[in-house]
Symmetry: C2
Subunit: 438 residues, 2 copies
C-alpha cells in the first residue's frame, strides 16, 4: 500500500463526528460510482483510467523530452488551470537548480510575463503551450507574445518550417482550433491532448508528464503510484476497502450532517505544496455546482501552524481536515549538542532538540497538530505516506481523482464540466472588443 | 489616494446583501476602535503605527543591507509565519534573476531545506534568522543546521568573533533567549525585534523591510504607501470616510447577518500572490478566536478563474469577495494581427485579441470576473489600485492591518494574541522528547 488512510478521528461521539449510520449509507451508495468507473475502464469511455497501466505513450514522448532536455536551458510552460497545475505538482520533485529550468507561466500579468521572458536566453528556451480546447484566451495571448519575440528575426513563412518546431510544442485536442492553426503556421510540433480527458484530470497524461520528462523526472513512477491505487479500488466489491470511496462518503456526509463546507488539505511537505493547489482546482471545479461543493483549502505544514492553525482550532468549527504526512524520523542532519552545549544539553533550554534531526521535529509536529485538532473536536483524517516521492504523488493524484468522481456521484453533479465560468469568458471578450484601442 | 474601495456590490437588495442599517450600526461601532488606535498612536503604545512616518531606522539598517547586497550571491531568510510572510510579500517585487537571490526558508522539511542549502555557495551566502521570541523551534532548528555547515571549518570559539557576524544576522526581541545566546556564541550580528510589534504586524518593521533592502528594493516606498492610508484613517472622526473601517464593518456584518464565513482575496497580479498569503495569516490568526473569524482564501487572477471560480459562482453562497485590481490597459506588447492574419483579423476567430495587449486582456478579465460574481448575487468589493508597486503594497498592508484590528474590536477579540496554538507546541516538544534516539 502506498499510503494509509485513517478516519477514526472523524467518527465516534464528538460534536462534529459523522454519524456511523449515515456514513454506512453513503459508503453503500458509492457502489454505484465504483460500478460506473469499472464499466468506464472496461469500455474505454474514461481513458484517464487506462493511463496508469500505459507506458507506450511515454516511450513515444521520450525523444522529444530528451531533445528539449539536451538543448534548452529553460523551458516555458504556457497554459492555465488544468494545463498547468498537474505539471507544477510533479515538477516540484525536481531538485533546485536543475537544468533545464521549467517556468510555469499560467497567468497574463504583463509585468511578470515580460520580466520572466526578458530573463531568458530565448535561443536556448523551449516552449510548451497547452490548451485542450485550443482556444484558451490566456494561453493564446501568451503564445502570440512569445512567438513575436521568437520570430523577431524574420517572417515565419520564409523560414524552414521545422526551425521553431524543434523547441516549440503545442498540446491540444484534435480538430481545428486557433492553437492548432497557429502551430501549423509557425511549424510547431503538435501533440494531441486526449479530448476525453479534461484538464483537471489530465495530470497523468502528457499534460502533466511531458514537463516532468523534460525535467528528467521518472514519469513511470507517477503512473505506477496511480496504478497502485486504481487497481485495488476497482478490483473488489466492498467500498469499505476502497480509500477514495471512504473519503468521498466522509466528506459528503460531514457536509450534509454537520454543515462542514471547508476542506483543509494540510500536507507536511514543501514538495507537496503545488499538489495541494492541484487538488484545490480538482475538488472546487468538479463539485462546486448547483449549490454543492466544499471549499478546498491547501495548506503546508509546519508553515501553516504559524498562519492558519489558530483559526482552525479556535475559530468556527466548519472544516474537515486531511493531514498528509510521511515518516520523517531521522531525516536531515543531526543537531549535535556541541553546537551549543549550554542550550542543547539534556537539561538545557533546548534539551528536547539536542541530538535530534530536522525530520524528527517535523515528525513530532505533524503528529501533534493532527492530535491537537482532533482533541479540539475537529474532524481529522490522516493520509500516511511511506515517503514523499513521485510514486506517492501518483497515488495521491489517483486517490483524489477517484474521491472527486465518487463524491460527485453522491452529490448528483457532473464532475467533468464547469458550466458557470463560461459567462465570465463571454463578458471578458465583450469588454475587450469595446475597449478603445490605444 | 493610493487605492479606491468600492463596496456597492455588497449592499442593496441581493439575497446576500448586507442590511444598510446593520452596516451603519457597525460602522458607528468602529469609532471606538479608531479612537483606541488614535490614542495608541499618540501615546506610543502601538509602535506599529509610528513606523510609516519613520525613516531613521531604515537609514541605520542601510549599511548592513548594502554589505550583504555587495558580498552575497544568495541570502537565506530563516523564520516562519509573521517572520517570513511580510518579507516574501515585499520581495515579490524584485525582478526575476536579481542578485542576491533571496530564499525564504519557512519550513522544516528536511529534504527541501537540505536541497536548497546544497545548491548554494555557502561562502557567499548571507543568513537572516528571524524569531521575535527567540525560541521558535523551527527557526532554531534551521539556524543550528546551517551553523553546523557554516562552522564546519573549525570550532567557533577558536575563530574571530566577527567572521560569521559579517553575514549572519539574528533578529529577535531584547532579553535572554536561545536565539540570542546562539548569536552571542557564534558572534552573529543581532538586531532588535520590537517586542511590542507582533510577527504578523511586523511587515513594515525591519522584519519585512530588511530583506527588501538587501534585495535593493525601496523600503521607504512601502512605508510611504502605509502612511498614505494611516494618516487619513486616524485623521478624522467619520468612519464612513475610512476604508479599513468600512471593510471591517462589511466583513463582520456579512458574517453576522448572512453567515458568510469565507473571505476570498482575489488579486489580479502575480506580484501580489505572496501578499495574499500574508493577509491570510494576518486575518486568520488575529480574528480566529472564541468561534469568531472567517476563513481567508488567497487567490490570484486570472489563474483562479480556471481553478476556483466555478465553485465561487455555482457552489454554496458563503463567501465575501475582495477583488484587487489595477489599471492594466495597454500594458505589455501589442499583439500584432500580422502574427496570424487569418486568426487575428477583425473578422477572424481571434479578432477580439488582434491589436490588443496582454494587459488589455487582464483588464477585461478582472472587470468581467467582478461583475460576473456580483451578477450571481455574490457580495463583491473592489480595491482599485493606480498601479501595482511598492507604494500600493504598503497601502494594502496598512489597510488590512487596520481592518483586522477594527474587525477584532467589533468581534470583541484580541487581535494581537494566538493562544490556541500553544497546546500543539507543547505536545510536539513532548513527542520529540519521547522519540527513541536513532
Amino acid at each position: 500500500m502506498t499510503y494509509l488512510q485513517d478516519i477514526s478521528a472523524c467518527l465516534g461521539s464528538g460534536a462534529l463526528a459523522l454519524d456511523e449510520r449515515l456514513f454506512a449509507e453513503l459508503l453503500d451508495e458509492t457502489k454505484g460510482a465504483l460500478d460506473t468507473l469499472r464499466l468506464a475502464r472496461a469500455d474505454g469511455s474514461l481513458p484517464l483510467l487506462a493511463l496508469p497501466a500505459r507506458r507506450d505513450d511515454l516511450e513515444a514522448l521520450e525523444p522529444l523530452a530528451a531533445r528539449l532536455r539536451g538543448t534548452c536551458d529553460d523551458v516555458v510552460i504556457l497554459g492555465t488551470g488544468g494545463s498547468s497545475l498537474g505539471g507544477q505538482a510533479i515538477h516540484a520533485f525536481a531538485p533546485p537548480g536543475a537544468v533545464p529550468r521549467l517556468h510555469f507561466l499560467d497567468n497574463i500579468d504583463p509585468e511578470r510575463f515580460e520580466a520572466v521572458i526578458d530573463s531568458l536566453d530565448l535561443e536556448r528556451t523551449g516552449v510548451l503551450a497547452i490548451s485542450k480546447s485550443g482556444g484558451t484566451a490566456e494561453t493564446l495571448t501568451q503564445l502570440l507574445a512569445l512567438l513575436a519575440r521568437l520570430d523577431a528575426g524574420g517572417n515565419a513563412k520564409d523560414r524552414p518550417k521545422d526551425r521553431l518546431g524543434e523547441r516549440v510544442v503545442a498540446v491540444t485536442q484534435p480538430g481545428d482550433s486557433p492553437l492548432r492553426r497557429l502551430a501549423l503556421r509557425y511549424g510547431l510540433t503538435v501533440l494531441d491532448h486526449d479530448p476525453e480527458i479534461g484538464g483537471r484530470f489530465a495530470a497523468l497524461s502528457l499534460v502533466g508528464l511531458l514537463p516532468a520528462m523534460i525535467a528528467g523526472l521518472d514519469a513511470g513512477a507517477v503512473r505506477a503510484g496511480a496504478a497502485a491505487v486504481l487497481d485495488p479500488a476497482l478490483g473488489g466489491d466492498d467500498p469499505s476497502l476502497v480509500p477514495p470511496a471512504i473519503g468521498a462518503a466522509l466528506s459528503v456526509g460531514l457536509a450534509r450532517q454537520r454543515g462542514l463546507r471547508q476542506s483543509v488539505l494540510l500536507a507536511y511537505s514543501d514538495t507537496l505544496e503545488p499538489f495541494a493547489r492541484w487538488y484545490r482546482q480538482l475538488w472546487a471545479e468538479s463539485l462546486g455546482k448547483q449549490g454543492h461543493g466544499t471549499t478546498p483549502i491547501p495548506a503546508v505544514g509546519a508553515v501553516d501552524q504559524h498562519s492558519q492553525l489558530q483559526l482552525w482550532l479556535d475559530g468556527p468549527a466548519d472544516k474537515l481536515f486531511t493531514v498528509i504526512m510521511a515518516d520523517r524520523k531521522g531525516a536531515g542532519a543531526r543537531i549535535a549538542p556541541e553546537l551549543a552545549e549550554d542550550l542543547l544539553a539534556e537539561d538545557g533550554p533546548l534539551g528536547w532538540l539536542g541530538g535530534r534531526t530536522m525530520g524528527d521535529l517535523m515528525e513530532a509536529e505533524q503528529r501533534a497538530t493532527a492530535e491537537t485538532l482532533a482533541a479540539a473536536g475537529r474532524p481529522v483524517r490522516v493520509l500516511g505516506l511511506k515517503s514523499v516521492d513521485l510514486r506517492a504523488l501518483g497515488a495521491l493524484m489517483m486517490h483524489y481523482m477517484l474521491e472527486t468522481v465518487i463524491a460527485a456521484h453522491l452529490l448528483g453533479v457532473d464532475p467533468f464540466d464547469q458550466p458557470a465560468v463560461e459567462e465570465g469568458k463571454v463578458l471578458a471578450r465583450r469588454y475587450l472588443l469595446e475597449m478603445p484601442r490605444a
